[in-house]
């Protein structure tokens, strides 16, 4: 009877949360790429002499 | 090791009265409950064991974040890390000292609060016994949280949040053993034995995790 309401709410909220996750990941990636590009434009690059495994640095 | 035990005991009894504040907090929490649920003695005696247990749980967590903090502040933590004794053993001794200084007073104070809660003698005895057996588990699992707190700028509240979910089994079996002592059909021994098992299990996991966390938090 009124079950449709619950079903659509469930799917709607799931979509909302998943969309938020995807958007957050996507926008975060875009922002980081822009920052890297800005640094690159400013002439600050990763020196090849430095070991590439410097995640912590 | 005995020297460390005695030193820790002395410090917690003397300086700032950390042990006393724990008991005080415990009594205040339990005393506040009747104002929330009303002075109905029947209701109070029914929920009494649970209230005393929750109060004790919160009181233990309250004092935990100081377990390694003082050592870190005065630098003796580094000495412990460099000492030839295994760090796990040191942590275990510190946990014991902490338990003697802060949890044992709670256990001793619990019958008094049981009277306030209109609990029967059997229930009071059961709560005291389960607290005696279960509170070491809280200290051990809390030690892991306290070791993490050392790395945090101000860790106190966060440690409670991280440790509380892990302490749920202790609470469940402590309270159900206390209830089993009063209510007839439920057997007392199975939850009580499981509580002992959990305590022993945490006595291994807690200091081990705390030692690993301390090693990693210091460098």
């Amino acid at each position: 009877m009124g079950h449709a309401f619950y079903i659509y709410t469930a799917y709607g909220l799931t979509t909302l949360i998943v969309a938020a996750l995807v958007a957050w990941t996507w926008l975060d990636g875009r922002a980081r790429q822009r920052e890297l590009a800005a640094l690159d434009a400013a002439g600050i690059r990763r020196r090849s002499a430095r070991s590439p495994g410097e995640t912590k640095a | 090791m005995t020297a460390l035990l005695l030193r820790d005991l002395k410090l917690s009894v003397r300086a700032g009265g950390g042990a006393l504040i724990g008991v005080l907090f415990f009594m205040t929490v339990v005393a506040v409950i009747p104002f929330g649920v009303g002075p109905d003695l029947n209701l109070l005696s029914r929920i009494g064991p649970a209230i005393v247990w929750i109060g004790a749980l919160l009181a233990v967590l309250l004092g935990l974040d100081r377990l390694f903090q003082a050592e870190r502040d005065d630098g003796s933590l580094d000495l412990m890390l460099m000492h030839e004794n295994p760090l796990v053993l040191t942590v275990l001794v510190k946990c014991l000292a902490h338990w003697l200084a802060t949890c044992l007073p709670l256990v001793i104070a619990s019958p008094l609060l049981g009277l306030f809660m209109n609990m029967s003698e059997a229930a009071i005895g059961a709560v005291m016994l389960t607290l005696l057996v279960g509170s070491p588990a809280l200290t051990f699992i809390g030690a892991a949280g306290a070791a993490v707190a050392v790395a945090l700028p101000r860790g106190g509240l966060l440690v409670s949040i991280l440790v509380l979910p892990l302490a749920i089994p202790v609470l469940i079996f402590g309270v159900s053993a206390s209830y089993a002592a009063v209510e007839d059909p439920a057997p007392f021994l199975p939850p009580f034995l499981i509580l002992i098992a959990i305590t022993l299990f945490f006595a291994v996991i807690g200091p081990l995790a705390a030692a690993v966390a301390l090693r990693h938090a210091s460098d």
Partner: protein, 253 residues
Amino acid sequence: MSDNSLAITKLSDLANPTRFLALAARLIPWLACLTAVAFAVGLYLSFTTEGDYQQGETVRIMYVHVPAAWLSMMCYTVMAVSAIGTLVWRHPLADVSARCAAPLGAAFTLIALITGSLWGKPMWGTWWVWDARLTSVFILFLMYLGLIALNRSMDDPSKAARVGAVLILVGFVNIPIIKFSVEWWNTLHQPASVIRMDGPTIDAEFLRPLLVMAVAFTLLFFTLHIAAMRNEIWRRRVNAQRRLAARMAGREQ
């Protein structure tokens, strides 16, 4: 760099973030497409199959609820494996992986809780039942949030990862105990009138959309996880380079 040098033969090769970034760049579009296809098929199936004779149309909620619940557990397992990687092998990507999995796990656990509650309202008549399974998922959610808070409160990411890894492992060891104790507690307290969680055995009719949706959700998780890891690596590079730039600027003066 030639393509050849980027080939990943061992897990330890992944320790090189540059190589991981190259792999991620190649993998993410494919994974995203696969996820989209799987979701399209899964959603089509879950809305076209027949309703259950007992649960009625609400069985469709299960097609998102069960995969989300499954992911909430798998995500914690991924975090635990990463934690071992951090502590034992000091794998530089492991801490990135654990850190990025936590928000994803929290989100999927939240989905499982919300959809479970929405299923419970028409079936049980209440939004929330202190059922063993619901309660343990709720505790899992709290653990995720605590770990996220821990990660956020430390400024040194590698230290946060190592300390957090200890807690993740302690939690992982504890999850079976929590599950067991909650079940014990539940049988003690729960009135017998509440309907059992496990309904009739699953029919093949429902199994098909369920499986497709489970695959879709799992693919979604891995896509997001790899993307989030890539973001985290970029973020650390930006930070490192900014620090380097500041140091160089200080030297020039």
